[in-house]
Structures are given as structure tokens and as C-alpha cells.
């Protein structure tokens, strides 16, 4: 039955090509609108998610030592005069103690006070002065664990962190500046003693050539090196550096890979910390320099919402491991990058502004709230776009219904003839329903194609992010089928209900 009805319907549609084409066009527009809207909606969602992820929302970095650089930390890397102004009134420049009268609070070390407040009132520090280096006031723990004592993290600490539930990846890092040389070419760059899990954490990494070093190479502290794309170009030009030798500390390292950024917008440049750099296993650095310390441990949380909890747990764990007394400050710094990234430009400024503008007291915002806000915003947008698309689809559907009703009237005699030669009412119903479905599905296929083009050109020309998923295509196509079925049903039933004699006599 199905094949014959398809055949019959197809031929019937073929009889009036222009009408068929125009009706399909209505459907095409509707489905293309749906496709484009879905692409835009999910594109926005993906863009936000990507930015959140790329911004390291789930990233926690533990640095050895405890020194805070105000310009990079308190308010997410932005020098914020207002923020200081807000803080100042809360800063007890002078405190009053009933028994002893006035005393200068900043002169005494009071571990119970929040560090942020003390920061501002350190006597060395003029609150209006901005420094691009840590001042004495910012190096809170100087007396106990300052810069000089920054060898506080070890691989054992990293192993302990690895055991915290919710931790996804842990990468141990040690960083130096170094001269690297290949033949006559030399380059002064950043040396990262990296961890095999680093590529998992740096989501924006890609390896145009070769690979990162392996677990085994790391364990055996072998002299392998991965070049940042800038270093690769400086040392080898356009040539293939894989398998070539690079000199570092009078040792020979073999190049196994080149790393670059997947993000074309932030193409690596000279001075880039990640790509104007070379990576060797941190174990190799330890072996060659006879060290055990780590400069930092980079952690990712499996769930973005758990960053705050994990950061807290990492701090507790490390304090316990380092046997830090209750009143003593940390000898390490835990940085979660969510807030920093927000203002740093990891996110589009308008998104960041929206987030900041919508949420009171950003510094108190937990990541869960942040994610929720973003999600709500993008859901609102998707809903808006979807309703527009639904209207477009509805119009297409009404077009189909209109043409089918017209067609039933026009072809009343045909229906009569078909009934006379043995078509059952059901056959007539199926024929018209299949015609409506064909209209909507063929129109739908064209619409999906058009949607691809529309979404593609939107991201090309307007720079709007779009994302087309299989589910989006299926949904667009499915809605076309549903529209065909829904709007084709009534005309088809009308056709099937016609009495054979009446339709044969119809003029």
C-alpha cells in the first residue's frame, strides 16, 4: 500500500508543478527558520558553555607560596578603583578597644581578620597606588612562607589532591625560563615541566604535529620535548621539528610534538605563556635540576558546580599535609579562575557585563549561580527564537492545508473516478495524506538544506555562533513531518468522506 500511495501521491503532485513547488517553498521557509533558530539557540548555548569552559570555570590552580598580586586577583584582573573604594570603609585603619583606647589595627598581625581587609591597610601600601608587582602588603605570608620559601608543593601533595572526590584531572607543573637551541638557532623562552594530563586540562590545545609525551615517558623522566608553535617556528621555521633534537641545559631533548591553540581568534604570539614555550615532563626537570618541588598544581573539577567545594577541600588538605597551624596563613595559594576569566576577556564582554549586571555582588556568586544565570539567559533566547520558528512553521502548515483543501475540491471528480475503479475511502485518505506529507517532507528536506546555508552564512557574515546538531536536524525534519500530518489530516478526511456518486457528478 505504502509504495503505491507514494507513487500515486507523487504523480498527483507532479501534475501541478508550480503549485506544488510554491507550497513546498512555504514549508521550506518554515523548516529553514526552525533549523536556523535551533542552530542559533544552541550556538549561543554552546558559545556560552565553551567560553565558560575555555575560561577555566572548572579550573583550580594551586600555586606554591602565598603572595597575592592585587591587580590580578581580587577583582578578576581588572584594576577596579570602585572596588577599592568599597573596601576602604570596611578597612579598620584605626580600631577602638575599650580598655586600651585607640590602637592602630594594621600594626598588629591578626590572623582572624580576613586577609582582604588587611591587604588594603598595610602600612606600606598606599591604597590609591597600583602596583604591577607584589608589594609587601600583598605578600601576606612573607614572614612564614613567602617567595623564597615557595618550594612548598610536592608530587605527594598532587597525589593527595588526586584522591579528592570530584577532581577530574591533576597536572603537576614546574616552570623555568630557559634557552633552547636547535643547531645555530637559539630562543629564550618559557620552560614548563608539564604533566601528561595537561592536554586534558587545556581544552584549547591541538597538536598539528606529533603528540604530547606519554605516561611512560613521564615516569622514566625521559628527555622528550613538546614545542609551542611559536618556539617551533623560531627554531625550525616551517620545517617539521618532529624527531629533531633541541638543546636545553646542555642536554639533548627529542621533539615529539608541536602544540598550538585551536582558537584562531587568539592565535599564539611571541611571549605567549602557553605557545611561546616548551614542555618537558616535570619528572625530567626534577631529575636534571635535582629538585622535588612543584611550582603549581593544576586541577580541574569534573563538575563546574563543585569548584568552590573542591578548592576548599584542596586548601584544607594541603594545610593538614603541610602541618600549618590554625592561626598561620597558607603556604600556598588556591586560585579558581572563574571570576578572573569573566573579566579577563575569556568571555565576550557583553556576556560578562550581563552576568555582572544581573547578579548582585559578583564576588559572592557561586559558580552554580553563574551557570544558572547563563543558562537562563540562553534558554530565554532559545525560547524566543523557537516561538518565531514555530510561527513560521505554522504558516507553512496552513499553506499546506490551504492547498490540500483546494486540491480536494479541484479534484473531486478524480476522487470519484478513483472510488469508481475500486479505491476505498481509506485509499483516498492515504493518498491525500501522503501528498501533504510529501509536500512537507520534501519542503522540509529543502528547508534543512537551506537552514544549513542560513546558519552557515550567519556565522560567516554576522559572526553569530551557530551550532547544528543531528538532534536539531531531526527536530526540524520531525516538525515538518508533524506539520504535514497535522495539516494534511483534515483535507484528506474531507476527501475520503466524499460520496463516490456525488464526486463523480461534481462539476
Amino acid at each position: 500500500m505504502t509504495r503505491t500511495s507514494l507513487f500515486v501521491a507523487w504523480r498527483a503532485l507532479g501534475r501541478n508543478k508550480l503549485q506544488t513547488l510554491l507550497t513546498m517553498l512555504g514549508m521550506t521557509m518554515g523548516v529553514a527558520a526552525v533549523m536556523t533558530m535551533i542552530a542559533l539557540g544552541s550556538g549561543a548555548q554552546t558559545a556560552i558553555e565553551d567560553q565558560v569552559r575555555a575560561a577555566g570555570m572548572n579550573l583550580i590552580v594551586v600555586k606554591a607560596g602565598n603572595y597575592k598580586v592585587k591587580t590580578e586577583d581580587d577583582f578578576g584582573g581588572v584594576v577596579d578603583h570602585q572596588a577599592d573604594a568599597r573596601l576602604k570603609p570596611r578597612a579598620p585603619l584605626v580600631s577602638y578597644d575599650g580598655a586600651r583606647g585607640f590602637s592602630r589595627a594594621y600594626a598588629v598581625w591578626n590572623p582572624d581578620r580576613p586577609a582582604r581587609v588587611r591587604l588594603v591597610v598595610h602600612p606600606e601600601d598606599d591604597p590609591m597606588e597600583k602596583h604591577d608587582h607584589p608589594t609587601a602588603s600583598q605578600r601576606l605570608g612573607d614572614t612564614e612562607a613567602g617567595l623564597g620559601a615557595a618550594a612548598t608543593l610536592t608530587s605527594a601533595d598532587a597525589a593527595a589532591i588526586r584522591r579528592i572526590p570530584g577532581v577530574q584531572y591533576v597536572a603537576e607543573g614546574i616552570h623555568e625560563n630557559a634557552h633552547v637551541a636547535a643547531g645555530a638557532k637559539r630562543w629564550f623562552t618559557r620552560l614548563h615541566g608539564g604533566d601528561v594530563q595537561l592536554p586534558e586540562i587545556r581544552r584549547a590545545w591541538s597538536f598539528p604535529r606529533g603528540r604530547f609525551f606519554s605516561e611512560r615517558e613521564q615516569r622514566s623522566a625521559s628527555q622528550m620535548m613538546v614545542l609551542g608553535s611559536i618556539v617551533a617556528r623560531k627554531l625550525f621555521g616551517d620545517g617539521d621539528p618532529i624527531g629533531r633534537d633541541v638543546k636545553l641545559w646542555n642536554q639533548t631533548f627529542r621533539v615529539v610534538g608541536v602544540v598550538t591553540s585551536t582558537n584562531v581568534l587568539t592565535a599564539p604570539a611571541v611571549g605567549d605563556d602557553q605557545f611561546d614555550a616548551v614542555y618537558v615532563p616535570f619528572t625530567t626537570v626534577h631529575r636534571l635540576l635535582n629538585l622535588t618541588k612543584l611550582n603549581d598544581i593544576t586541577i580541574t573539577a569534573a563538575s563546574t558546580g563543585e569548584v568552590t567545594r573542591i578548592a576548599k577541600q584542596v586548601a584544607d588538605q594541603l594545610r593538614a599535609r603541610h602541618r600549618i597551624a590554625e592561626s598561620a596563613p597558607d603556604d600556598f595559594t588556591v586560585v579558581t579562575q572563574a571570576r578572573q576569566a569573566l573579566a579577563k576577556g575569556g568571555m565576550r564582554p557583553e556576556v560578562a557585563r550581563a552576568v555582572v549586571g544581573n547578579v548582585e555582588g559578583l564576588e559572592k556568586v557561586t559558580l552554580e549561580q553563574l551557570a544558572k544565570t547563563l543558562e537562563r539567559a540562553s534558554r530565554t533566547m532559545t525560547a524566543l527564537l523557537a516561538s518565531i520558528a514555530a510561527v513560521a512553521l505554522l504558516v507553512g502548515g496552513i499553506g499546506i492545508m490551504n492547498i490540500m483543501l483546494l486540491s480536494v475540491t479541484e479534484r473531486t471528480r478524480e476522487i470519484g473516478v478513483r472510488r469508481a475503479v475500486g479505491a476505498r475511502a481509506h485509499d483516498v485518505l492515504v493518498q491525500f495524506l501522503v501528498e501533504a506529507m510529501l509536500l512537507s517532507l520534501v519542503g522540509g528536506i529543502a528547508g534543512v538544506a537551506l537552514g544549513f546555508v542560513a546558519a552557515g552564512s550567519m556565522s560567516q557574515l554576522l559572526r553569530w555562533s551557530t551550532s547544528i546538531s543531528a538532534a536539531g536536524v531531526a527536530l526540524s525534519f520531525g516538525s515538518a513531518a508533524a506539520v504535514g500530518l497535522f495539516f494534511g489530516w483534515y483535507p484528506a478526511r474531507q476527501a475520503a468522506r466524499l460520496h463516490p456518486i456525488d464526486s463523480l457528478r461534481y462539476e
Binding site: 500500500m1 507513487f7 473516478v417 472510488r419 475500486g422 479505491a423 481509506h426 456518486i501
Partner: protein
Amino acid sequence: MPIIVARDLTKTYYVGDVAVHALRGITLTIEAGEFVSVVGPSGSGKSTLMHILGCLDSPTSGHYLLNGRDVSHLSDDELSAIRNKEIGFVFQGFNLLVRTSALDNVELPLLYANRGRVPASERRRRALDALNAVGLADRATHHPNQLSGGQQQRVAIARALLNHPSILLADEPTGNLDSQTSIEVMDIFQRLKEERGITIVLITHEQQVAEYASRIIRFRDGRVVADQVDGARALAVGET
């Protein structure tokens, strides 16, 4: 063996509140292979009779036995199946599908035969055979508007014959044709009767056309008023 047995058929329509008694008790028997003309003025109920005989409609009362089977109160689907298998229709207005080739028009009944499972190649072959039988094999790809009235009616006859029906019902088949073409169509009917033994019921109000049949039934006001078997009937072939 009678192929059509009608017993006291009545049919009453309602046009608004007014009852129209189109048939007021028809009883007749038609043997297999007969060529019967039904004549009568318009409104005499002959078309209604044809609709009931053709299973397009059910009688209000009475019984209609087709090939010995009472079909007077079957369901719509069952009637459709009978129309498909047992009955071929030829209409006054040809009723061909527009913008559709003669071949596609002819194969129409096969689309609904055997639950639509007749393969396309067989449909094509049988449609061509049927077109060939009415002498239009060379017009297979022509659309109705490219064919003359006589040719269109021959295509319609080919369509009616496609499923090898036992009865051919023709409702004023020559009403839209000139006299010369009418004779050609009648010739085809007579040949079908002679060569294939098809039972033909021809409805007309033209006495001349009616006389090609071997039996003439006269209708008036929903009743049979005369039923004559005419041995000396006109021969279409002889006249041309």
C-alpha cells in the same frame, strides 16, 4: 446463469425534506454475456439503477445479487473491492485524470487491485494490452487534452476493462460524442460482448444507441415499463 439479479429494489433520496423515489421496486435478471440497454427519460431512475448495479450505492430496500452474492448491504470497503474486481465503468464525460497520460489513466484500477501490490511493470504491461485492445497503443503517452473525444472514451473503456470485470456499465457513453464516433464506441462494445462475453449494461436516452443492444429495458418514474429482447438488433460494424 444470471449475473445480475435485482429483487424489488427501491431507492429513496431526500432533497431537504422532500423524498425523491428514484427507484420504486425494480426486479430484473440479466444473464451473463447479455448486452442490455436501459432507456428512459431523464429522471426516470436509470442512473440510480446503474449506481446500484455498479456498487457505487446501496438500495434503500430490496436485494441485489451480483454473481449470486447479495451485495445490497455490504460495507463501503467491500463495495470498493467489488467495483475494482467485477465492474468496469464508462462515463458520459470520460472522467479521465487530467494531465495524466493515457497509459497512467488506464492502469488506475490496478493501483487498487490486490491491495495495491501489483508491481509497476505488470501494471504497465496490462495497461498497454488494454490500450492495444481499443486501438490506442500509439497514444499511450498522450494526455487527455491531446486526444479526441472518441479516443478519450476508448481510453476510458480500456480502463474499465483492465481488471477483466464481469460487467461493463456505461452511462450515456456516447452523450458527448458525434454520431460517427458513437458508432465506433458501440462497435467496441459489441466486439467485447462477442469476443469476451462481457455483460454490458448501457444507459442511454437515445433510441438509436439503445438498439445496438440485444435487450432493451425501458424506464419511467422509477419503474420498468418494458423489457424487450430484440433479436434483430442493429449491427455497428455493418453500418460503417
